[in-house]
Amino acid sequence: MNRIDATFAKVQSAGRTALIPYVTVGDPSLAAMPALLEAIAVAGADIIELGVPFSDPMADGPVIQRASERALLQQVALRDVLAVVHDFRMRDRTTPIVLMGYANPIEAMGEKVFADRAASAGVDGVLVVDYPPEEATDFAQLLHARGIAPIFLLSPTTPESRIAAVAALARGYVYYVSLKGVTGAGHLDTADVARRLADIRRHVRLPVGVGFGIRDATSARAIAAHADAIVIGSRIIEEIEQASPGEAAARAGHWLAGIRQALDSMERKRAA
């Protein structure tokens, strides 16, 4: 069983919601990554999403755009992202790593070369924002063949007729974009998310993660009541950008631990 499936099996048998933090590789710096990843793993990340910096992050709000720009100022490239994963894997054999980014850096490396290198670095899943399933059949196949999960987005505008088609290609989990907008936006409607998750679950057996717009313990708990996993990105990056480079790991870890605690207390309540 791959690490993502194993993680969800463990989390679900414990009656918990998985916590998936997102950070951009190279923000605040490449040198800071080992400590940052360790800090968020210790703080309770079940899976870690790593953003691959791109010059034109069209689906991202200003916070993740800035993270991408800071990384690109240091010339952080896809091969550096893979090196960060490789390094992390030497120390952590269990926490799944999912890469999230845009198509062009992968195409520039070559899809097959990328799939090979990602597999040997220890990547568990790949989400390419601008590869909808229609354009990603071959790519998903390359990933499958190497035991990497292709992760796809579902959105509030995805018609029910399409959900099954998306799910057919997906492995690991599906990522429900909780609002119409970019990452980090602030108009999350929990009741709407709950309704949509019910629709999705009629067609999808995989765990459903929810992201875009989760900003604090309250929104995390509200979504966690319905989702198998919650994804938090922009809010952690705000912690990182407000910290001095030396303190980024500790500050991100501290903030995430607060969310973990909020989720766990809720889950204890649910169990009791």
Partner: protein, 416 residues
């Protein structure tokens, strides 16, 4: 490959928007439904008589079409070779070809019941055209424009504001057209239910490259009729500048199946291809994915999109419409480059010899015609798409020329 070698008629793109390996729909999931809806509705209205009649009515009475073809006799004579004919898109309402497409998309937006339109703009011509149709059809309009372009195209910013649009300066990335497009996409993803995104070029995800081409192909269809009437036959060459490539696709498309007509797209070589300061994606780029489609892109080895340079803001874009990528690979069209300096020289010649102030974008096509004309016999015919007028470029040209304008000898007071 020649079109004659293709099986059947030219029928690209395919159902999913592919021109060979190019084009497609490379967007985040949230936009898929809107694009599917647009595809379905456009397929419905494309052949709808009422829609076509209304489009043609607006083009005639509001835009001022057909735009004439004009024989640049003095210039042709001075160059001593082929005859240069100009397709006068500069005479359109708002001063460029951009309005053709905006009318088409605005009519579609009305039928889809969208009350709000957004647009990206580089030189500001598409922004002005979008703001114009928004005023004409009573829609809210937001135009995204890089802060660099806001600075160099201040007059167009003012025009858009006069027309009631709000202009949002974009400060991310290179602060030019590509970043304006990113920001417009972000707006669209957020307001997808209420908003129609009027893309200004034959770029973006399917069906935009096809749809914009169809709306712009009025340019070439008119030429097909006008050239035999005015020049006695179809041209040997059709020449147009290529940034995103909408004016070029518009004039090329009706000529694609006519193999005898050579199609030449002119990209911006900026300060020279070797300097890296240019915007020639077909000439110096590699295929990749940006802004919803696969096409030639200016990018570094890591797949990051490069900042571009051109004296003309409208050509300052690191990608190009996917159909041009296909036409290049297939050999049906040829793509060449012209530097800032060559374009400026052509700009001044066109003002001085023909009394026409061209847009700096169009001046690239004129500059290539100037190079080519002397190498061809006098009975050869070149048709150049004069895609826009140069009023918007006064500041840029004045700065470059150090305010040293040409003075006709007989007007020079010191010579009297």
């Amino acid at each position: 490959m020649r079109m004659a070698d293709l099986p059947g008629a030219y029928d690209l793109p395919d159902e999913r928007g592919h021109f060979g390996q190019y084009g497609g729909v490379f967007v985040a999931e949230t936009l898929i439904r809107a694009l599917d809806e647009l595809k379905t509705q456009y397929a419905r209205y494309r052949d709808d008589t009422d829609f076509r009649d209304e489009f043609e009515y607006e083009l005639k009475h509001y835009v001022g079409r057909p735009s004439p073809v004009y024989h640049a006799k003095r210039w042709s004579q001075e160059l001593g070779g082929a005859q240069i004919w100009l397709k006068r898109e500069d005479l359109n309402h708002t001063g460029a070809h951009k309005i053709n497409n905006c009318i088409g998309q605005a009519l579609l937006a009305c039928r889809l019941g969208k009350k709000r339109v957004i647009a990206e703009t580089g030189a500001g011509q598409h922004g002005v055209a979008a703001a114009t149709v928004a005023a004409r059809f009573g829609m809210e309009c937001v135009v995204y424009m890089g802060t660099e372009d806001v600075k160099r195209q201040a007059q167009n910013v003012f025009r858009m504001k006069l027309l009631g649009a709000s202009v949002v300066p974009v400060t991310s990335g290179s602060k030019t057209l590509k970043d304006a497009l990113n920001e417009a996409m972000r707006d669209w993803v957020t307001n997808v239910e209420s908003t129609f995104y009027i893309i200004g070029s034959v770029a973006g995800p399917h069906p935009y490259p096809m749809m914009v081409r169809d709306f712009q192909s009025v340019i070439g269809r008119e030429c097909l009729v006008q050239m035999p009437e005015a020049a006695g036959r179809q041209p040997d060459y059709v020449i147009a500048c290529v940034g995103g490539g909408s004016n070029a696709m518009g004039i090329f498309f009706p000529y694609l199946m006519r193999d005898a007509v050579k199609l030449v797209g002119v990209e911006a070589a900026g300060e020279g291809i070797a300097t890296g300061k240019h915007a020639a994606s077909l000439t110096a780029g590699r295929p990749g994915v940006l802004h919803g489609n696969r096409t030639y892109l200016l990018q570094n080895d890591d797949g990051q999109i490069l900042e571009t340079h051109s004296v003309s803001a409208g050509l300052d874009y690191p990608g190009v419409g996917p159909e041009h990528a296909w036409l290049k690979d297939s050999g049906r069209a040829e793509y060449v480059t012209i530097t800032d300096q060559e374009a400026l020289a052509a700009f001044h010649d066109c003002c001085r010899i023909e009394g026409i102030i061209p847009a700096l974008e169009s001046a690239h096509a004129l500059a290539h015609a100037m190079k080519l004309a002397p190498t061809l016999p006098r009975d050869a015919i070149m048709l150049v798409n004069l895609s826009g007028r140069g009023d918007k470029d006064m500041n840029t040209v004045a700065e470059r020329a150090g305010l040293q304008f040409y003075c006709r000898p007989e007007c020079d007071p010191s010579r009297r």
